[in-house]
């Protein structure tokens, strides 16, 4: 088993999928010979040729729109949007088209496809290279929204997404691209979508998180443990469709819940987790559910480390619900 970074695991997943199936095509801006601005597609054009990994015109609407057309006609497109911040010209194609096609055609036409895109802060990217837009997409029936946090899951979830019969938005935490390493099995394996992962066991406080916030939550949990608070850290991995039963179960196990995400708090995914728990197991709650999130402001550049939830803020929330 190789030790890979998260971006290497993404690359490995793409190569694995392309080796297994000639209908898998990878395309987007600069994904060809350059291998992508983060090198997620490094070496693909060389190994599979320009017909299977290629650069497109600079148009997110065109990338996703053509991916839909390819998918309805039998190919398996894996489109890259260079930064999630630039996905909005394709919002119509994703939300109005890809997500609704199966439904609106009475099941006659479908578009199994993957849109990969790096999201989140931590690289000094400012307003337009740092956003976490998952909530926009989680409000879209028909779409799946997947966010890995480890190299193992990045590969297994991406392979599962490529095989999935429905369109998947695969959000990659760019802050973790090279900052996490882990063991990744060779060849094909899948991590089931809509299953959460217990990242740390604990009976004191449940911390729900995903993507780049998982290592942050784990660091906070480490510090909490030193203070005698054992945290159950849950990596949601798939936000839509969410493993609701798993979420409810994990919350009941401690009765104290913190939800962490980088995206702005208002109408963020943490609100949905809070509502699910309030509707299903409020009587189990020993303390108010606390959200730790990005501020309800645009994403700043120089002070991004203040904007993004860090172990300091997460630990503070853990202590608040513990001491309530």
């Amino acid at each position: 088993m190789a030790t890979l970074t998260l971006i290497q695991a993404v690359n490995d997943a793409l190569k694995t999928a392309m080796r297994d199936d000639p209908d898998v095509l990878v395309f987007g801006e600069d994904v060809g010979p350059k291998g992508g601005v983060f090198l997620a597609t490094d070496g693909l054009t060389k190994e599979f040729g320009e017909e299977r990994c290629f650069d497109t015109p600079l148009s997110e609407d065109g990338i996703v729109g053509t991916a839909i057309g390819m998918a309805v006609n039998g190919l398996k497109p894996v489109a890259e949007i260079q930064f999630q911040d630039f996905i909005f010209p394709a919002f119509d194609q994703i939300v109005s088209e890809a997500a609704k096609l199966r439904y609106r055609s009475g099941g006659q036409y479908t578009c199994p496809m993957v849109i990969r895109t790096p999201y989140g802060g931590g690289i000094r990217g400012g307003l337009y290279h740092s956003q976490s837009g998952e909530a926009y997409f989680c409000h879209t029936p028909g779409l799946k929204v997947v966010i890995p946090s480890t190299p193992h899951d990045a590969k297994g979830l991406l392979l599962a997404s490529i095989d999935d019969p429905d369109p998947v938005l695969f959000l990659e935490p760019k802050a973790l691209y090279r900052s996490v390493k882990g063991e990744v099995p060779e060849g094909r394996y899948k991590v089931d979508l809509s299953t959460l992962r217990t990242a740390r066991e604990g009976a004191g406080v449940t911390v729900f998180c995903y993507g780049a916030m998982v290592p942050v939550a784990l660091r906070a949990a480490e510090q909490a443990a030193e203070k005698g608070i054992e945290c159950l850290v849950v990596d949601l991995r798939t936000l839509l469709p969410l493993d609701e039963d798993g979420v409810i179960d994990a919350a009941k196990r401690t009765g104290r819940v913190v939800v962490v995400h980088e995206a702005p708090r208002f109408c963020g995914f943490g609100g949905e987790i809070s509502a699910i728990l309030a509707e299903n197991c409020i009587e189990w709650m020993e303390a108010p559910i606390v959200r730790v999130a990005g501020f309800d402001t645009p994403f700043p550049n120089t002070l991004e480390h203040h904007y993004m939830p860090d172990d300091r803020r997460v630990l503070d929330a853990i202590e608040r619900v513990w001491n309530y």
């Binding site: 497109t56 729109g65 991916a67 006609n73 199966r102 009475g106 029936p141 609701e244 039963d245």
Partner: protein
């Protein structure tokens, strides 16, 4: 054929300019009957809407030659990415008025299971007639993706993407033509310039000399064709498809025509279409023009129109009876087809809705009036 000089075949008196395509009589009469079938379907749907039996329809009067002419150029293995005003394309290829009427009613036999407004057809047989969505221009770029898949697999098929003059202002038009030009995709873009985007005239869409000339900027040929000349449209689209099949890449065809009815049954065109202009275009009626051609071929004489139209009205009338007798979709259809497998949260919501219906009865149906 050029982007600024309009190509036509049938002269106003029914004679032929240039080379007669010499279609078999059966084919000519199928084209003619399809145009009348569209017209009959329109007339019935207008009455159904006015009497409150369906909520909405889209009139096709005036643009039948463009729809049917383009459809006649396609093979069954080609794909159509239609606009909402393309009834004639489906009918030409053998979709039945009954199948279409089910969608007008949104009943349990509707191809979209009652999920879409009337008119938003989806068919896979007898030709790929891609699912229509309401946003304008989104399908243009999707058509390029489908064409790209054909090219990738080295098939000899091609795609027809149809849209109106308003559609040329959309993001999808630009992305679609740009991608197709770069990729040399086997796709024919058919801009049906019926001169109106609901109430907005063509002059509010573009300052360009023609729509067809926009092709030049995307590195593909543009052809302006008389959209009221069914054989000219067929010829131009056929030539473009042949070029596409041979790897020659895409073409933008602008069919210059006129929408003689409203945008939809919810629209009153007398508010914005000058009466004089309408009368002018009434004289260019595509059905009458084709009749003069058929007459010269000894395939038409009065009262053939009345005879065929009456047959079409009977067909559509039967379709209405069948559609009205078909029950609405089951409650379950709200919750299926969102994903291949119904996820737990949707399953729960569905179960709650079924339980509520069992306890308190069905929800009250709405009035069915579309306010546009």
């Amino acid at each position: 054929m050029t982007a600024t000089e309009m190509y036509s075949l049938i002269k106003p008196d029914g004679g032929v300019k240039g080379k007669d395509p010499k279609l078999a009589p059966d084919e000519l009469l199928h084209i003619y009957r399809t145009m009348l079938r569209v017209r009959a379907f329109d007339e019935v749907c207008m009455k159904l809407q006015r009497s409150g039996r369906i909520g909405f329809s889209i009139p096709n009067r005036g643009v039948e030659a463009t729809q049917v002419g383009a459809a006649a150029a396609l093979r069954k293995t080609d794909w159509i990415f239609p606009s909402y005003r393309d009834f004639g394309m489906a009918l030409y290829h053998g979709v039945t008025p009954t199948e279409m009427m089910h969608t007008m009613y949104g009943n349990g036999a509707d191809c979209a299971k009652g999920r879409q407004m009337p008119v938003h057809f989806t068919f896979k047989e007898p030709i790929k007639f891609f699912s229509i969505s309401s946003p304008i221009g989104t399908h243009i770029v999707q058509a390029v993706g489908t064409a790209h898949a054909m090219r990738y697999r080295k098939e000899k098929n091609a795609v027809l993407a149809s849209f109106g003059d308003g559609g040329t202002s959309s993001l999808g038009f630009h992305s679609g033509l740009n991608f197709a030009g770069v990729w040399k995709s086997p796709v024919v873009f058919l801009c049906q310039n019926n001169q109106w985007a609901i109430s907005c005239p063509s002059s509010s869409q573009t300052a360009s000399e023609s729509y067809a000339i926009k092709a030049q900027a995307y590195g593909m040929p543009g052809v302006l064709v008389d959209g009221n000349d069914v054989l000219a449209v067929r010829q131009v689209v056929l030539d473009a498809l042949e070029r596409a099949r041979k790897g020659g890449g895409p073409t933008l065809v602008e069919a210059y025509t006129f929408r003689m009815g409203g945008h939809s049954t919810s629209d009153d065109p007398t508010k914005y279409v000058p009466k004089k202009l309408l009368l002018e275009w009434e004289k260019k009626d595509p059905v009458a023009r084709f009749e003069r051609y058929l007459a010269k071929k000894k395939l038409w004489k009065a009262p053939l129109r009345e005879k065929i139209y009456a047959e079409c009205m009977d067909e559509v009338g039967d379709a209405v009876k069948i559609a009205e007798a078909t029950p609405p979709p089951a409650l379950e259809t709200i919750f299926s087809d969102v994903y291949e497998t119904v996820p737990r949260h949707i399953r729960r919501q569905g179960q709650a809705a079924f339980d509520l219906a069992a306890r308190k009865g069905d929800a009250a149906a709405g009035g069915g009036a579309f306010p546009l």
